[in-house]
């Protein structure tokens, strides 16, 4: 089966153009010595790859890459260089030989293998014809949900997602251990940083933050139907809080959501996720088998109109289960992102203080 269209194809053209742009940006990151430039380039890299992902029919991934790669990663990186320094030292060219050789060797192996891969877009390749296709066919029957990616993520491979949520939680624990403690009293008052004359951003932020939070909820609950889900929503929710911290100062935000509460929420999210699994188990199913989310006596009480579609009524367990675990993911991701920001942000102010003293 030929993989390529016979005529010129817009998708392929976009694909190639975007990849070339990615190559250029990656080269620029490698060359630049200014860390700020490298971070901005990396942000651009993420954004371009998000666009490329849309072209490649992966809107969910594109969404995540945009919020995580271009959003959160950039914030963390900027926070980090604020605390360290802005220039990288130029390495001696002789010390580039060994890395270059290693990279050429690994790259050679990759290219060697890539030549044996089926061509781009081959619908008959093992990757696309076997399990991938099976998901597309089985999802309407098993889950009854249009977004197959969400279905696979939260139901078929829900254990992966539990692990992934745990990774996020672990990152929160790690950052809190590294940066979360210390002389918190030295937090600078917001006026010293922002000043009262920054009225415009404050008013704008007051307007924006609820909207951003609302959008987060939209992304959260729309995940069944279109691109979106707990991760993206969680990051967006965190963005709202981070915006608050940026405009009103970390102390205000910490007063509203103390670091300890943020950490607790992160762990509660994972607990919620794992708890759903255990409930399914206690009702006689396997771990995370949402068909057993509620015992049969409860099942009969659920009115048919709740899901809006009688045809999908037998998927009630799946829907509720996915909703609940996505909620757990949202909690963990947003709380962890806030925790991470607190870590870096708290340090930022301290560092600024220390430098002012000297």
């Amino acid at each position: 089966m030929t993989a390529l269209p016979s005529s010129f194809d817009v998708t392929l053209a976009l694909d190639i153009v975007l990849l070339v742009m990615l190559l250029v940006v990656a080269g620029a990151v490698a060359r630049t010595r200014s860390l700020l430039a490298a971070i901005i380039m990396f942000s651009v890299y993420s954004l371009i790859s998000a666009v490329w992902l849309v072209v490649m029919d992966a809107p969910d991934v594109a969404f995540t890459e945009a919020v995580v790669g271009a959003g959160v990663s950039t914030i963390i990186l900027l926070g980090a260089i604020l605390l360290t320094r802005g220039e990288a030292e130029r390495p001696d060219w002789r010390r580039l030989i060994a890395p270059a050789l290693a990279c050429i060797a690994v790259g050679g192996l990759l290219v060697f293998a890539a030549i044996g891969l089926p061509g781009l877009g081959d619908a008959a390749s093992p990757a696309n014809a076997y399990v991938g296709r099976a998901y597309l066919e089985a999802t309407p029957k098993d889950i009854g949900m249009p977004n197959v990616v969400t279905a696979v993520l939260s139901s078929y491979r829900s254990f992966d997602t539990l692990g992934e949520t745990t990774v996020i939680f672990a990152a929160g624990v790690g950052v809190a251990l590294m940066l979360g403690f210390g002389p918190r009293a030295s937090l600078a008052p917001p006026s010293a940083v922002i000043g009262d004359h920054h009225v415009v951003p404050r008013v704008a932020a007051k307007l924006l933050i609820p909207l951003v939070a609302l959008f987060a909820f939209y992304v959260q609950f729309h995940g069944d139907l279109g691109a979106g889900g707990g991760f993206q929503a969680g990051v967006i929710m965190a963005a709202a809080i981070i915006l608050h911290a940026l405009v009103f100062g970390l102390r205000e935000t910490m007063a509203a959501i103390p670091p300890r509460v943020a950490r607790s929420l992160a762990s509660l999210g994972v607990l919620l996720y794992a708890g759903i699994g255990v409930i399914c188990m206690m009702n006689g199913g396997g771990f995370l088998d949402y068909d057993y989310l509620f015992p049969p006596s409860v099942e009969q009480q659920i009115p048919g109109w709740l899901l809006g579609d009688s045809e999908h009524a037998h998927h009630w367990g799946q829907h509720f289960g996915i909703m609940l675990i996505e909620l757990g993911v949202l909690l963990t991701v947003s709380a962890t992102m806030v925790t991470i920001f607190y870590g870096f942000g708290g340090r930022t102010v301290e560092a600024a203080r220390q430098e002012a003293k000297q």
Binding site: A3, L19, L22, G27, V29, A30, L35, A38, I39, F42, Y45, S46, S49, M56, D57, A58, D60, V61, E65, V68, G69, V72, S73, I76, L83, T84, A88, P91, P99, A100, A102, V106, G107, L110, V111, A114, L120, D122, A123, A124, A127, G132, R133, L136, E137, P140, N147, V148, L153, R157, D160, E164, V167, A171, G174, M178, L179, A227, V333, G343
Partner: protein, 149 residues
């Protein structure tokens, strides 16, 4: 030429990965290493997504069978192709790698956060984020006795 086009993605992604790895290996600056690592991980995601693309496919969000949208999507393609590879008359891209890469991206940002947090602490402890300078200071440290509890 056709072979080159159909495998261009893989080769480009391989080069991107190596660019990330090169930044990681060649740079002595811890922050820049983390950037390299992030590029390396992101590019790995691009590789998976390339695998998942199906020619003529659409995102794996089910289109109502028989709807106008489904008809419009099918009309662009050879009916035999749709019949063979479509699900309910629509050809979708493979959702599984998307799911995997969603996970991988999240793992990537987690790694980035922890790595940068450690880098910040390194700066606070050693006053530098350049690996060479830290090495020198570490070697000095090796001759110092440990603190007594």
């Amino acid at each position: 030429m056709s072979f080159f086009l159909s495998h261009f993605n893989y080769i480009a992604v391989a080069i991107l990965m190596m660019a990330g790895l090169f930044v990681l290996f060649s740079s002595g600056n811890l922050i820049k290493r983390m950037i390299g690592l992030a590029i390396f991980q992101t590019s790995t995601g691009l590789f998976y997504i390339s695998l998942a693309k199906v020619f003529g496919g659409t995102a794996a969000i089910a289109v109502e069978p028989g709807s106008s949208e489904a008809r419009e999507l099918a009309s662009r393609l050879d009916p035999a192709y749709v019949a063979q590879y479509g699900v309910d008359g629509v050809v979708y891209s493979n959702p599984l790698p998307h799911v995997l890469i969603l996970t991988a991206i999240v793992v990537g940002v987690a790694t980035l956060a922890v790595g940068l947090a450690i880098a910040v602490r390194v700066r606070e402890a050693f006053g530098s984020v350049e690996a060479d300078e830290i090495d020198v200071l570490s070697r000095v440290e090796a001759t110092q006795p440990g603190p007594q509890a």
